[in-house]
């Protein structure tokens, strides 16, 4: 399992996210090709409800404690509740419902 997959699996298991993006940004940094050193995580979970940012980041840091200690060099973290995520992406409209035309 790659480090990226490990991060994805652990966060998916423990936060039941509605949305999870783990992006390997190592290629933007001064590390050999194919490295897994710099990651960006975007995670939307209702486990973050009523938690300030510090507590949300602590929660993620704790889930990834082992990886942070040994293998991850940098971790950018963007944490949202489902409601915050909807508000943030209000400009990306919800697609219209099916009106049954193809059954014609």
């Amino acid at each position: 399992m790659t480090l990226q997959q490990t991060i994805e699996t652990k966060l998916a298991d423990q936060l039941q996210p509605q949305h999870l993006q783990v992006i390997n940004e190592s290629a933007n940094h001064n590390v050999p090709p194919g490295s897994e050193s710099h990651f960006k995580v975007v995670v939307v979970s209702d486990d973050f409800t009523d938690k300030p940012l510090l507590a949300r980041h602590r929660l993620v840091n704790q889930i990834l404690a082992q990886e942070l200690q040994h293998t991850i060099h940098a971790l950018a973290l963007h944490t949202y509740t489902a409601q915050e995520w909807r508000e943030k992406h209000a400009n990306s409209p919800i697609s219209p419902p099916c009106l049954g035309g193809s059954k014609g």
Partner: protein
């Protein structure tokens, strides 16, 4: 004085302090650079510690506040967060308020 006491003293005696890689003038990490820029944009003076120049602090700061990464921003003796939190607070206008509160008290 051991290193954790030394860190504690820095945190408690500076209303706003950033532990970063490099300096605000010559940052050596993109995350440190962004966090320092956000603090600079608040328009009040702040202290900085270059963790690359102090191996002891570099190795022990994560343990001090149980926070694994750099940079770390402390306001009024409390950990605010790393780069992402500092930036998000700045974008919401909350970082400026926090900095102004301690700047008034100082």
């Amino acid at each position: 004085m051991d290193v954790l006491q030394r860190i504690d003293q820095i945190v408690k005696t500076n209303p706003v302090v950033i532990f970063m890689k490099g300096t605000p003038q010559l940052p050596q990490c993109g995350f440190s650079m962004r966090a320092a820029q956000a603090l600079q944009s608040c328009g009040k003076p702040f202290a900085h510690v270059n963790v690359l120049m102090d191996q002891e602090i570099f190795q022990n700061l994560p343990q001090y506040a149980n926070w694994p990464t750099f940079p770390q921003v402390y306001i009024n003796g409390e950990l605010i967060g790393g780069c992402d939190i500092t930036l998000e607070l700045f974008q919401k206008g909350e970082l400026q308020k926090l900095v102004n509160t301690v700047a008034v008290n100082a």
